[in-house]
Structure formats: C-alpha cells, structure tokens
Amino acid sequence: MPQKERWFLWFLILVVLALILIKPFWGWQLRRFFSGVDRVVDTNSSLVLENQSLKSELLKLENLKNYFPSKAVGDNYIPTLIYSRYPFSLKDEIFIDRGLNQGVQVGKAAVIFPNNKEGEVSGILIGKIESVFPETSLVMTIFDERWSSPVGIGDKRIQALLRGGNKPKLTLMDKEATLKDGDLVYSLDAGFPSLLPLGVVRAPHLASDHLFQEADLEVGYNLNEVPILWARKN
C-alpha cells in the first residue's frame, strides 16, 4: 500500500477514535437515522421547510406528552430520556440520561406511562435499573433473556414466573389454574412497587413437560418507540 494512503487511513482512524471518545452521541443519532426513526422531510421552499420542522417538533412534543402520566406521581419517579439501546441479540438494555446524581438507584423499577388516560398513575413495568453512573444509567428490560421475576395473574392472583426474551413468557403456572387471553399480569417482585402491571396473558397452554402451564406475555407498547421512561426513586 502506498505510504500516502497509509497515512491517510491512519488519519481517518484517529478521527473515528476521537468521535468514539468525544462525540458518542453522534453515533447514537446516526443509529437512529439508520433505524428510520425521526426522519426529516427535506423540501425546496424555506417556508415549507420551516413549517415541516415546526410540525415535526409539535409531533415530537405530542408524542412525548403521551408518555407522561396524567396525574402527578409525586417525587417517586424520575423522568429520563432514552439515549440508546443494546445493539446485539438476546440482551435488551437501555441507556438513559439520569444517574446517581439525580437519585437513580440500582434495582429500582423502570416504568412507562404509554396511555395518557385519567387515572393512569401506576405505570407499566418495563424493567429495572441494572447499573448506575454519575449522570447515566443502564436499564435491563423484560425483553432481556436474563430477566426473571415473580408475577401474578388476574383477580385470583395465579402465580407465575416471567422469563424475559424477545417474546417474554409466563411459566410455572399451576396446571389446574383457569387462564384466559387478556388476563392482567402484574409484578409480585418485592423490589418493585406492588402490583405494577406488565401486560396481559396470551395463548395459555400446557407446557411440554405437562406439569405446568405456560403463556406469552402480550405488552401494549413498542419499546423501540418509547422516548421516555420513569425510574423509581425509592
């Protein structure tokens, strides 16, 4: 390889290294662009462009508003913006913009409020704080293969174990228990606020070992489209 080309390549390598260390946020923005999120429509007219930009801002604000609780949840939750998501298979972590200095603690619940309905105050449990840094934190979601937590189902409080994954599953349910599609699933984990909803039961069936029942957990949101989550303080 000619010397000039080699020097040029090393210059580019240093530039990318600097970007990794100094501007990681640009990489996350580029990833969002590749993902097809936040597309901006380009036009010829400056007025139309400004109009589009304003509409886009309004849409973002409307979208954000949908993820705020309709009633005050007090000081128990910290609103956080989602920076980026784990990019590889079989593990689902979210990197958020609040950390130790803002009161985030390891092991606490991470919830969302996807429906801005009157009376919606408990939020939907989507994960827990896995590790905390001074200004940022990592959240492990229920879509992570490592997730495992006790849950209850329906008004009869049928006990089950929620196993995480791309399609979270409800396992170890009593073979004789009566389950049906749409039964509410809520958390029974002692580390989270009591009875935080997770989703609903879908397709209950006998497990392959014929000793227990299993079912899918259906959630009413697309985590890729959620811009804000709320970290429990205590």
Partner: protein, 162 residues
C-alpha cells in the same frame, strides 16, 4: 456501455485502497441498515455488522479493517464507556485479520467456520448463560449470521477473483 468484465478487469476495478475502502464502507453501511431494519420490521436483532466485518477481514488490509471496526464501535456502542461486548466486537475481526495468512485459502468452508466461530465466541464471552436459558438461542444467533456471511463472502470473492 460494457457490462461484462473479465477477471483481470474486475481486479483492476478494485485495486487501490480508496476503491477497496469504498466497497468496504458500502458493505458496512448496508450491513448497518440491514441490522437496524431487521429490528424495526421483525423486532429481532441479527449481527449483520459483526458478520460483515469478519468477512471483510479476509479481503481488506489491516489499516482498512481498523477503520471499519472503529466505525462499527462508534455506531454500536450504546454507552459512554467501553463495554465488554464492544471490546469483543473490536477484537474478533482483528483476530481474523491477524491469522488470515494461516487460513487455507479463501474457501467457502473457511468463511463459514470463521463467521460461526466469531458469532458464537462473541456471545460466549459476552453472555454465556443465554445458551442454557433456551435451546433455540443457538440457531437464533448463528443461522442468520452464517447465511449472510456466506452470501457476502461469495459475492466478494467473485469481485476480487481470489
């Protein structure tokens, strides 16, 4: 306009670092778009970027690979600091390029084994327990990666005429 090129003409088209780099970046960008598009459409992640870097390591020079791997790190690193997964992502293509002279030529089987080994090693070091949580996890991470890696390898081999 000429559409059919001889082998010698194909090699000439991709001589020069800028042309190889251009092709490398194009493949890298396509792999990145494919990885994120898969997630959006199928709600499932396939490691197209890692696989493309493993295959490209058989064709590009050391400096060219470092550049592409660092670009991958910048695009994929989801935290402010370096995580272990990103470190493995960085090391695996570099190991391929370090030992490629010992590999038995540019055979399809070699590429198949490299991609399979690379992906399995990546998940072994980053999150070993997931292979025991569900039996379906092994084919889930390896089969799409190997298929993509094979298609990419045979395409590049025709272009570079190795």
């Amino acid at each position: 306009m000429k559409f059919q090129f001889s082998g010698r003409e194909k090699i000439k088209m991709f001589e020069g670092s800028e042309k190889r780099m251009g092709l490398g970046f194009l493949i890298f960008s396509l792999a990145a778009m494919l990885q994120f598009w898969f997630l959006l459409v199928f709600d499932f992640k396939v490691d197209f970027i890692l696989v493309s870097l493993i295959v490209l390591a058989l064709f590009l020079s050391f400096e060219e690979m470092i550049l592409l791997v660092l670009a991958g790190v910048w695009l994929l690193n989801w935290q402010r600091s370096f995580s272990l997964e990103i470190l493995y992502f960085l090391i695996i293509p570099m190991v391929v390029i370090a030992f490629r002279r010992l590999l038995p030529g540019k055979l399809g089987v070699t590429n198949f084994m490299l991609v399979l080994l690379g992906v399995m090693l990546f998940y072994t070091f980053s999150n070993f327990s997931i292979f025991f949580s569900r039996a379906v996890n092994v084919p889930l991470v390896s089969v799409p990666a190997v298929i993509f890696g094979s298609i990419l390898f045979f395409g590049l081999r025709r272009l570079f005429r190795f």
